[in-house]
Each structure stands twice: as C-alpha cells, then as structure tokens.
C-alpha cells in the first residue's frame, strides 16, 4: 500500500496531541494543583475535543500576516489624518471608554489564559489557551497603537494603565477580570470564553466595531476585523469547555450552572457601559441597546440555552430582570456619568433634539416619561451656565462596583439596594444577581478595592475632590468637563472649519497634554 497523505485532523494530532507525555517522576496532582480545587470531576481528558485544529507553526504564520496588514492600515490612517474623518469629536469619547476600560482587559486576558493553560492537564486545552493568550497580547498591542494615535489629538487617553488601575468607574471592568483571574482555571474559562466571549460578545464587539464603522473610524474597524478572525477560535473554546465539563460528570452540572449565573450577571452589569455608548455616545447610532439585547441575548442566547437544556442547564438566573431593565439601563447609566463628569476622563453631553426623538422612538415605554424631562432640565441649566453636577461620592455595589443607581426591575422610581451581613458587617449590593454572588463567596468580595471606600480611607491622595482627581492623574478642567466646554470640541471646530470665529488651521495641532 502506498503511503497515504495525512488528513488535516491527523496532521494536527501528530503536531499537537502527540507532543504530550505522561509524567514519570512527579504525580499529576502536584504538577496541576488547581485541577480539583473547584470541585469539578474530570474522568477522561481524552474526551476533550480540540475545537480548532491549528498547529503552533501555522499559528505564527497567520498572525504575522494579520499584523502586517493591520499595521499598514493603521499607518495609512495616521498619515492621512484619519481622525478627522470621524463623524464628530463626540465619537472619540466612546473610544476613550473602550481604550481605557477594555484594552487593559485584553492584557488581563493574556495573563489569564497563560495561567489557565498552565493549570489544565490536557494538551488540547493547553494549546488552545496558549494561542488565546498570545492573541490577547496582540490585541492589546494593536489597541495601544490606536491609543497612541488618538492621544496626539484628543484628551483623556494619555495614561490608560494608571487610570484603569485607579479611577472609580474603570474599577468596574478591572474588578470583573480580577474576579475571573483569581478563580480557578475552569471558572476563568467559563467566565471569559463562554459567558463573555460567547454569550455576550456580540453585545460588546458589535456595538464598538459597527459603531466605529458608522462613525468613520477606520483604524478601529480594521482592528476589529483583525481581532474577529481570532474571536471565532475563542468562542469555540468557550463552547467546548462547557460541553466538556458537563459531559465529564453529572456533579459538574450545578457548579457550571452557578458559574453561568454569576458570569452572566457580572457581564450584564459590565455591559451597562456599552448600553450608554450605543444610545448616547455614538453620533451616528447603530441600533439601540434594547434592540441589541433582544436580538443577541434574548433570541440567540435563547437558542443556545435551549440546546444547553439537554445537559440540565437552564437560562441564567435573573435573565428576566435584564429584559425588564432594557428600557432603563442606558439612560440611568448616562445620567450618572453626566452628573459626575467632573470625575470622569471623558466628556458627556445632553442629546440634541433629533437624538431625543430617536431615543423616544426606541424607548416608547420609558424615554419621554422618565428621562426626557430630566434631560430638558439639565439642558436648561446648561443654557443658564449652571451645568448640573453631583459632588457627592456614591455608594458602590460590593460585587460589580457600580454606583447604586439602578432601579428595581419592576419599578423605575425605586433604587435597588440589597444588604448582606457577614462577620458583623453590612455589605451592599445593587441587585439580586450581585447579592447572590456576594453571598456565595463573601470572603472574596469583602476584599474588594472599592474606589469610594478607598477615598474615605484616605488611600487616594487626600480628602478633597481636587486631591483625588490629581491622584487619578486626571487633567482637571480639560479631560473632565462637559463636551460643549471641552478643548476636544473647540479643536474639532477649528480643524473642521466649523467655527466662524477662528481661522481653520491647515494642520491639526496636537493637544498640550499627553
């Protein structure tokens, strides 16, 4: 018989699976000490099906070409002053939120997958985690290039590392990932690959990338395409991990269900930042938050959970509350940022009349009744030169770290508070979902670094607002003002020749800070 050509599958198995070995002078439990700590029962690692069959050597080749293309486009974008082609400079604030809030998470993911890969005993899972770890590093690097470009022309992008680690609202995404990384390897992958990258990904990625495309930001669009080609691999990893755990042992089902409940809720809370971006921050809107949630979670997620029901997995706990909250989430979040703009590293504004009409049409149940009157009041104050600001420090949810401004799912006029007692102290959470998470692992969450508590404890540069903002390295009076008063806005008018009072410069001038 003549030698048969290896099929793609066999080729992969020779180049990956066959590279592993049985340890002979150390027991497996010592090499992989975290395998059992989460309570999962794994009976047969050979049942792990590699969700994609890519060998490392092919991986390098692919990623190298992606990089080459991406940087060529980013370079051309910079050369051609691509930043001037965005719809208007309000758009940049969506980028500021993404680049300060999400880009450092890519780095966290890089670390998290490296750790998970180290701790999972199966070689298929190890290789998948290794590739994803390198992917995430690539993503953060390309985003840092975007930061570097926009930072030359706009405020609020000059110190993303420091801000991510310290500023109050950025503790929301940061603590989300810290929570995942300090769990075991399986919970980490369930949190990130399954709940976040699979179940919720379309709600993070789609709004930012389509938002960028709609608003003329080709640098971000190109990055998006480049990352999406990795994303499919990541999602598939999430699905495989879930199936693997559920098929290994029936005792794993309740553990996985709890993780799904927890990470769905945490992800939903994190996405409140996206909701306000979609409804308020994009000058040209893609779709409303409510439409996105209905399409990507209720419909697509519903189909997924119908399939998961075969394993005995049900819809994530409290998902009904997310549906009840669709009419309010983005408005309440934007309200909080608008009224605390003095402590934020991006600009806020009140919607123009045509945007109000769009909001009213997308939110017929809630907008005109609850939010338009408030916005009109704020606008009137703006016109009188008395912009509304809320100088107090809000109480934060012990779990998600978001200020407690959300209302009860069934009553948009009552703030939702939950209280737990642990070792004689009271802890506050924003919702049933966050309370359940706290109550299950109180010892973990009482250690949370809550920005407001830290200020009161004197750990953030001092007791006055100015001192705290200095400690945040927030360029006061520049980064933290309403859009109509901002340098971004006056520069934009100059560059685009929109301001009849000033001459339009030929060359966009770079901003002073940064």
């Amino acid at each position: 018989m003549s030698a048969k050509k290896l099929g793609l599958r066999e080729k992969y198995s020779k180049m990956t699976r066959d590279l592993s070995w049985e340890p002979s002078y150390q027991p497996m439990e010592k090499i992989y000490p975290q395998t059992e700590m989460e309570g999962l029962k794994i009976e047969d690692w050979d049942k792990w099906e590699d969700p994609f069959r890519l060998t490392m050597d092919a991986y390098w080749k692919y990623q190298a070409e992606k990089e080459r293309k991406l940087y060529a486009i980013i370079e051309a974008f910079a050369q051609n002053n691509g930043q001037l082609n965005v719809t208007d400079a309000r758009y940049i604030n969506a980028l500021k939120l993404f680049l300060n809030g999400v880009s450092p998470l890519e780095y966290a993911a890089h670390r998290g997958f490296a750790m998970a890969g180290r701790q999972l005993p199966g070689v298929g899972a190890q290789v998948a985690c290794q590739m994803q770890s390198v992917d995430e590093l690539r993503h953060v690097q390309t985003q840092v290039h975007t930061i570097s470009h926009y930072n030359k022309y706009f405020n609020g992008l000059d110190d993303f590392r420091h801000k991510h680690d310290n500023v109050w609202y950025l503790s929301v995404p940061k603590s989300f990932f810290d929570d995942a990384m300090t769990a075991g390897p399986f919970e980490f992958i369930t949190a990130i690959s399954f709940s976040f990258e699979y179940v919720l990904t379309n709600l993070l990625f789609m709004p930012f990338m389509s938002g960028a495309a709609y608003n003329g930001d080709m640098a971000t669009v190109t990055f998006g395409f480049s990352a999406q080609s990795d994303e499919a691999r990541h999602m598939t990893l999430g699905l495989e991990v879930i199936k693997f755990m559920l098929e290994q042992h029936p005792d794993n089902v309740p553990i996985v269900q709890r993780w799904i409940d927890k990470w769905f809720w945490r992800g939903y809370r994190l996405l409140s930042l996206v909701s306000m971006m979609m409804d308020y921050m994009l000058p040209k809107k893609v779709m409303s938050w409510k439409e996105a949630w209905e399409m990507y979670f209720v419909q697509n997620g519903g189909a997924l959970f119908e399939d998961l029901a075969r394993y005995g997995i049900r819809m994530p706990k409290y998902w009904e509350q997310t549906v009840a909250g669709m009419d309010h989430l983005s408005h309440q979040t934007w309200n909080t940022f608008y009224t605390h703009n003095h402590a934020a590293a991006f600009h806020t504004w009140m919607p123009e009349e045509d945007e109000m009409q769009w909001l009213a049409s997308k939110y017929p149940e809630s907008f005109d009744k609850y939010y338009r009157p408030r916005w009109e009041h704020y606008k009137k104050l703006e016109e009188e030169g008395k912009d509304f600001s809320n100088p107090s420090l809000p109480m934060l949810c012990q779990t998600c770290q978001i200020p407690m401004f959300y209302t009860e799912a069934d009553d948009p006029t009552t703030i939702s508070y939950r209280v737990s007692e642990y070792k004689g102290d009271k802890y506050h959470t924003c919702s049933d979902g966050c309370k359940d998470i706290f109550d299950h692992e109180p010892e973990k969450y009482i250690q949370a670094w809550l920005p407001v508590h830290q200020i009161f404890q004197g750990n953030c540069g001092g007791g006055s607002l100015e001192e705290v903002l200095d400690w945040y390295r927030l360029n006061q009076g520049v980064e933290n003002v309403k859009y109509h008063l901002s340098e971004d806005f006056s520069n934009w008018k100059k560059w685009k020749g929109l301001d009849p009072e000033t001459e339009s410069d030929d060359e966009p001038r770079q901003v002073s800070n940064g």
């Binding site: 099929g7 599958r9 999406q228 080609s229």
Partner: protein
C-alpha cells in the same frame, strides 16, 4: 449551470450551483462542514482546494490570508466554484464508512404488502445490483407523478437486486398517497442511491442501541440483519415503538432473531395501547422505556435513532440525561416537507444534533 464538488476525505460528490457557496451546497446535501459566522470573517470554514478553481467571494483579508489564497485555500461560506472541484475539509474520515457511489437504477415493483393500515412494504427489483451500507437510503422517483422522495433501505445489504422500502402514508402527502393508493405490482420506478451517513460504527467497542418508531424501523432492520449475518457479537438492543398493536409490524421477525441470537434483545413498545387487554409489553415512548430498562445509564452504548424529527429530538434529550453524548449518537431523521419548513434557530453548541 452547476459544478460537481467532491469533498475529501469523505469522497462524497455534491452539485453546487455557480452562484451557490460550497458551504451552502454541502449543508443542503447533508454534509456537515465546520462553520460559524457564515460570512467570511472567522475562518472556521476554511478548506483546501485540491483541484479546480473558485471565486473567493467576500472572504475577509484577515480570515483568508494572501499566502493561503496562493496555497489554494478558500472559505467555504464565501467561495463559489468556477469549475468542478475537489476540496479537502477538516472533517473526520469515518473509518467505518463504506464508499458506494451514487448511481441511477431502473426498477420494477414486484410486491406490495400492507404492513399496517398506514405503512406499506414495497419491494423493487432493480436492473442490477445496488451495493449499499446498512442504514443508508435511496431516492425513489415516481415517474407517473414526477416526484422524488427519500426512503431508507429496509433489506439486508446482502440482498442486492431486490430492495425493500417501508413507506408510511403522510396524509395529504403527494408521493406517499400515490404509493398507498395507486402504485401496483409491475409499475416502473427509478431509484437513485445509496445516500446517507447513518450506519453502524463497528470499530467502536460499544453496545448498539437502536431506537426506532413507525416506519423508522426500516434502517435499523437492515442494520441489525447485517450485524447478525456478519456474526457481530456485540450486544444489540432494539426498542421498537408503535402507536398500537395494529401499527406494530415485523414483530415476529425480531422475536425470532432474539430467540436465535443471544446478543440481540428486542423490546416492542406501544405509545397508545388504549386499554388493549392483549398487550403485555412495554407502554410509553421508546426513549422513556429504554431509559427505565437501562436505569438511566446509557454509557457504553452507541445509539442509533430513526424516525420522526420529534421522536429523535426527545430521544437525544433522554440519552443525554443518561450521559450519552453527541459523539455516540447517530440518527436518521425522516424529514418531510412540513418539517423542513419549520426548522427553528439553532445554536452552534452541537454539530449535528
């Protein structure tokens, strides 16, 4: 205009219209190829073009690199053929699959027997031998009404000239009404086949569990006859469902086999005996009866399900509760036009179920 596309390592050939994507044509032909986004972004559907030319369509430059285009790769979800093709996809070559080319046969109906008030056995004698793997089906073409429909081969593969089809009457269905009301011995029919990837995975060291309902017994009958003829000594368990005793057929045959072969166990099950005093056997749905007989533990089996889409969906759920998963579940869904019209949205969690 259409092209022939051969998919390796399966060796199956499908027709692809010149404006149809390879993925679309493959899925429609019942061949699963890996895919996710379906619009050129994720690269999950990447295949090697071994021979022939394609138009790349909207493949993203990040999902399909220049060097890959040069190496002759394409994204099956975007690529359309511009010539006949041979592609190689990242799918499992099934060691247990026999390759029998699809051909057209001329046949004559030599016997029709009423199995039950709603099912007929139709024996067709062919112009030459049809080689197939037990479990496969054929397309039956009825020249008088100009219609073609799929039916599984109920005979053992050792019987190559005379094939048996067991055809249930679908009320209002054009082809099955014709078969039940007008088809007679001596009529000419055409048969094309064999098709399908429903067959016993013999290389697996596992018991074979068959769940069949109504005329869904056709394929399992062929598969079981074949296993026993070949002297296969694995445990074979057949749960055979019907509504009531009048709808239950081939019971004598299976009971005789159970008496002759000690590795074969036969359990007929009625779903609606409606106070039938003469029935002493199991009552319920096949999957539920199997679940209680096997004490909700299906591990160590390979399951073969055959029948209506509803029965198969419920059976998969029951099997998974008893810890048998996708990799060990095989099925043939007897889809009719009505089922095809109401397929619901699926998630990518499972590949085939």
């Amino acid at each position: 205009m259409s092209y022939e596309v051969t998919i390796e390592p399966l060796g199956e050939t499908i027709e692809v219209e010149d404006d149809q994507t390879i993925l679309d044509a493959a899925l429609r032909a019942g061949i699963w190829l890996p895919h996710a986004c379906c619009h050129g972004l994720c690269a999950t559907c990447k295949v090697d073009v071994v021979d022939g030319e394609v138009e790349q369509g909207d493949a993203s430059p990040f999902a399909l690199m220049d060097f890959e285009r040069d190496e002759g790769k394409c994204l099956a979800c975007c690529a359309t053929p511009t010539s006949d093709l041979v592609i190689e996809a990242d799918i499992e070559e099934d060691a247990d699959a026999e390759v029998h080319p699809v051909e057209d046969y001329a046949g004559v109906v030599v016997a029709i027997e009423a199995l039950t008030p709603t099912a007929k056995s139709v024996i067709v004698e062919l112009d030459r031998e049809l080689k197939f793997q037990a479990g496969q089906y054929v397309n039956l073409h009825l020249p008088e009404i100009g219609q073609t429909r799929a039916f599984s081969l109920a005979n053992s593969p050792s019987e190559k000239r005379r094939v048996e089809l067991q055809i249930r009457h679908i009320p209002g269905g054009e082809a099955t009404s014709f078969v039940h009301q007008q088809l007679k011995v001596g009529d000419k029919v055409d048969i094309t086949g064999p098709y399908g990837r429903f067959f016993v995975r013999r290389s697996a060291d596992a018991d074979a569990l068959f769940l069949a309902c109504g005329t869904g017994i056709s394929s399992p009958k062929s598969m079981i006859l074949d296993l026993l003829e070949q002297g296969d000594d694995r445990n074979i368990k057949l749960f055979h469902g019907a509504r009531n005793q009048t709808e239950l057929y081939d019971r004598d045959l299976f009971e005789q086999l159970a008496a002759d072969f000690k590795n074969f166990r036969y359990t007929p099950v009625l779903s609606q005996p409606n106070g039938d005093q003469t029935w002493e056997g199991a009552v319920g749905y096949v999957q539920d009866v199997a679940q209680s007989h096997l004490e909700n533990d299906f591990r160590g089996h390979q399951a073969y399900l055959c029948g209506s889409p509803n029965m198969i969906d419920s059976a998969i759920t029951v099997l998974m509760q008893g810890r048998l998963f996708e990799r060990d579940i095989y099925f043939e869904k007897f889809i009719s036009a009505a089922d095809a019209a109401q397929q619901s949205q699926r998630s990518p969690l499972f590949k085939s179920i």
